[in-house]
């Protein structure tokens, strides 16, 4: 038995494969739900209701999807160029704390329409700064960035923890370690009134489209793809490897930093060390689910958010653990990878 590369991938296959993968994942997770003693279809109905059953739950799901879109894009652009940035979690926190540092007092005198974009840029820059460490180590000493960017996550979170228990600590928070709150006019406007859904969601979608455009149409997109696929071939063709990787890293780190900034400005208003329930790591899953396609990232992020938000509702009404959401997302990643493999290869004897 061997695998043969498919040269033509019909459209129906490309649309059907991800759907089949999701169905397979739900079926497999259904076995676990049945073992937990709950009716399987009812459980899935509850998940769907929990995620989209009301105006409130639907907006909540999209709110949860917003940082996932951005961290998913951060992973997708980096992985496309074979830059293994596992550090989106740390970059997320750097973006968040930078916004809290500048947006609570220092720049609070600026009017909203100037302050908000400025803070977003500051958040993105903070994420970029953090990723430059593993990038430099890779380019200078060939240190594997998987290890360095991963370890840096813990350093970043501890650094943030130090700041919010120290210089940036909110004196009015009854001793809780949390940062000073953003000025009110630094908060993102709501997309839908009386919900938590903010314009960050729209911004994330626009950015996904922009990233898609950059990757598929621009010189930079083509060069970064070449550098990822065959570094020595790219260098021979005149692609400046170091500077291309630098740009890719800045884009990736910037997106993750922006995710942190938008989460603070859109939802919380301040930073704690549980601001992210692992958005940075989930971004990797989202990117892989989307096969690194920036537009697919949006759908994958919404799917992931649906499972997490919906599982809360299911858990409350059926009394089975919310871990089922983690399991389903993990299974869907596996089935998706298998499905994508079979869109690219066929089995031959």
């Amino acid at each position: 038995m061997r695998f043969e590369r498919r040269e033509h991938r019909p459209l129906y296959m490309m649309t059907l494969a991800p759907l089949l993968a999701i169905i397979a994942a739900l079926a497999l997770a259904g076995i676990l739900i049945a073992i937990a003693g709950a009716p399987v279809f009812e459980a899935y109905r509850r998940i769907l209701l929990g995620a989209f059953g009301s105006r409130l739950s639907a907006t909540e799901t999209l709110t949860r999807a917003t940082p996932l879109i951005l961290t998913g894009l951060a992973a997708a652009v980096a992985f496309r160029a074979r830059l293994w940035n596992i550090g989106a979690e740390g970059q997320f926190y750097f973006g968040a704390i930078a916004v809290a540092a500048f947006g609570s007092k220092m720049l609070a005198g600026l009017p909203g329409p100037i302050l908000i974009p400025l803070l977003m840029i500051i958040g993105a820059l903070a994420g970029m700064i953090l990723i430059l460490v593993p990038l430099w180590l890779r380019l200078r000493f060939s240190v594997d960035e998987v290890v360095t960017s991963l370890i840096l996550n813990f350093i970043a979170v501890l650094f943030v923890s130090m700041l919010i228990d120290g210089v940036l600590k909110d004196p009015t928070a009854f001793g809780w370690p949390q940062s000073q709150a953003l000025a009110d006019h630094a908060m993102l406007p709501k997309l839908i009134a009386r919900s938590r859904l903010h314009i960050g969601f729209a911004i994330a979608i626009v950015i996904a489209a922009a990233v898609y455009f950059v990757q598929s149409r621009t010189v930079f997109g083509m060069q970064s793809r070449a550098a990822g696929l065959n570094p020595s071939g790219a260098v021979f063709a005149g692609v400046r490897f170091g500077s291309t990787l630098f740009k890719v890293a800045c884009l990736s780190g910037g997106l993750a930093g922006l995710a942190g900034a938008i989460e603070v400005m859109g939802v919380k208003g301040y930073v704690t060390t549980d601001l992210s329930p692992g958005f940075g790591y989930a971004g990797i899953v989202v990117a892989m689910l989307a096969n690194l396609n920036p537009l697919g990232v949006v759908l994958a992020a919404i799917f992931t958010a649906t499972m997490f938000v919906g599982a809360d509702g299911m858990s409350r009404s059926l009394g089975i653990p919310t871990y089922i959401a983690d399991v389903t997302v993990a299974l869907s990643l596996l089935t998706m990878l298998i499905a994508l493999f079979f869109t690219q290869y066929r089995i031959r004897r």
Binding site: R225, A226, G233, F236, A237, G238, R240
Partner: protein
């Protein structure tokens, strides 16, 4: 010419040890093997000759049990071999030496050879017995090797010897060698051929796969030519000629293009005392040369003598440590790839898969990647113009096997090389740096590539040809310099050159016409 082998009772040309009967194998819409039959006698060397894609490797994979044939059968000593079972093939005495070795570089020679021969759960290892067996085999066939050397420390030629020994250790009586010389230097290849003849004289039967006419004529007793999945012809080596084989292999007459006289113009590229140090080693030591417009300068040498570094400096991917480089009589500083291309230099890299193209990208993307500035506006790639450019190359340079949008990896070596040549020559470069331009290509593609290089020369391009193929250099170059250990010899005129003299030059010592002795 094939030298007649000594008659030996171990060689018995009348009994077939291996018979392949009517084997066919289809992959999708291509019939890779079409009703192929052939036989191999004891102590015989049969060459399987054919162009890339003729079905040689498929046939051998079927014989070795990697693929199951659609029809046909394989007999060893008149017993049918079960289909698709490599283990059965090994047990029946078939040994295979792959083009890419299946050896572990971190193990010793002895460990590599023993791998897979002992049971996983046996408590004792038969190291001493194995060592004695290995030494006996290496003595018998004249395959000298140190059993305790770490494989990774050996040269490619020695590694191949280990691969052969491994097959013999498993009591192979039929040895299949898949393009055994593709990775070897000229000298290593000659050593291999004498080993093969010695093995045949000892009663082993050999099939070796090749597309090189010289080595087939020099080594084989019998030659089976495959074309388009079918046996096109079968010839005794003593009763055929290179010209006939070439014609049989390609299906029509192939004549390599010949060089006409030319009157070289002004000096286009000149190097003065260029030195390159990298990693603490002097790769190039004060080399000097010049190439004129409409002239081919051949740099010949055994690979690993500094050619790669020279190619990199001239391609813009490495910078010289000292020395002067002149383009069109103007000294230039350090050049990057963009500056080199801007100056009108076309570049053919020595490793086309690693440097020449990005296999996973489309043909049109590879066509424009090195001059993206001309195929983009405001940072946006002009796909339409890129595809049009690729289509022009595909037509003008006869690139077959893909359209502008298909993946470059699908192209055969020859067609990929035509694409690389095309994207350079289409822009009428004033200088062409061609490193090993015909390496690994089949006869038809070699003729096409050589023809293009000579055409560029005719149109006034200064060509620097870096090659280790004597025939290629003699056929294309007007003047020849040898590179040995990072030093360059003084040039000789191509009219004085023959294979013997060039061989001596590549070794670093030779006498010229007037009898003066030279050494690099």
């Amino acid at each position: 010419m094939a030298t007649p082998l000594p008659d030996c009772r171990l060689r018995d040309m009348t009994t077939a040890v291996l018979t392949i009967e009517g084997v066919s194998k289809r992959f999708g819409s291509t019939l890779a093997n079409d009703n192929i039959s052939l036989s191999l006698a004891k102590g015989e060397i049969v060459a399987l000759l054919g162009e890339n894609g003729a079905g040689k490797t498929t046939l051998m994979s079927i014989l070795f049990g990697h693929y199951v044939p659609d029809t046909g059968r394989i007999l060893i000593d008149n017993v049918e071999l079960p289909k698709g079972k490599p283990r059965a093939a090994i047990r029946a005495g078939v040994g295979m030496v792959h083009q890419h070795f299946s050896l572990a570089p971190n193990l010793t020679v002895l460990e590599n050879i023993m791998t897979g021969t002992e049971r996983l759960w046996s408590l004792t290892s038969q190291m001493t017995a194995a060592r004695n067996k290995l030494l006996a085999i290496s003595e018998r066939f004249g395959l000298k090797v140190d059993p305790d050397a770490r494989l990774g420390d050996l040269s490619v030629g020695e590694q191949q010897r280990v691969e052969i020994l491994k097959a013999l250790y498993n009591d192979a009586r039929i040895l299949i060698l898949d393009e055994p010389t593709a990775v070897l230097t000229q000298i290593e290849a000659e050593k291999l051929f004498s080993t093969l003849k010695q093995m045949a004289a000892q009663g082993l039967s050999l099939i070796f796969i090749s597309h090189k006419l010289d080595e087939v004529m020099a080594t084989a007793d019998r030659i089976v030519v495959l074309r388009g999945g079918k046996v096109a012809a079968e010839r005794q080596a003593s009763q055929t000629s290179k010209a006939e084989l070439a014609e049989l292999m390609v299906g029509h007459r192939v004549t390599r293009p010949t060089r006409e006289k030319s009157i070289p113009g002004a000096i286009a590229l000149e190097a003065r005392d260029i030195t390159l140090k990298s990693g603490g080693v002097e790769r190039l030591k004060k080399i000097s040369f010049h190439v004129r417009a409409g002239e081919v300068l051949g740099i010949i040498g055994v690979s690993g003598n500094g050619q790669a570094s020279l190619g990199q400096i001239l391609s813009g991917t490495a910078n010289r440590s000292s020395g002067e480089l002149l383009l069109f009589n103007k000294p230039v500083g350090d050049l990057d790839v963009a500056a080199v291309i801007e100056a009108g230099v076309g570049r053919i890299p020595e490793d086309r898969n690693r440097d020449g193209a990005i296999g996973e990208m489309a043909i049109w993307e590879n066509a424009v990647l090195e001059r993206l500035s001309s195929y983009s506006k405001h940072g946006l790639v002009d796909r339409g113009a890129g595809v049009a450019f690729a289509q022009e190359i595909i037509e003008a340079f006869d690139v077959r096997g893909g359209s502008a949008a298909s993946r470059t990896r699908l192209l055969s070596g020859g067609n990929m090389q035509k694409l690389i040549l095309g994207r350079n020559l289409h822009e009428r470069p004033r200088i062409l740096i061609a490193a090993q331009p015909a390496r690994g290509l089949d006869e038809g593609a070699v003729a096409a590539v050589h023809g293009r290089i000579l055409e560029a020369r005719r149109q006034g391009t200064a060509v620097l040809l870096i090659s280790e193929d004597l025939d290629e250099v003699i056929a294309l170059a007007d003047r020849i310099q040898a590179i040995v250990g990072g030093r360059l010899s003084a040039p000789i005129d191509a009219s004085e050159a023959d294979a013997r003299l060039l061989g001596l030059m590549m070794a670093g010592e030779w006498k010229d016409k007037s009898g003066t002795e030279h050494a690099i």
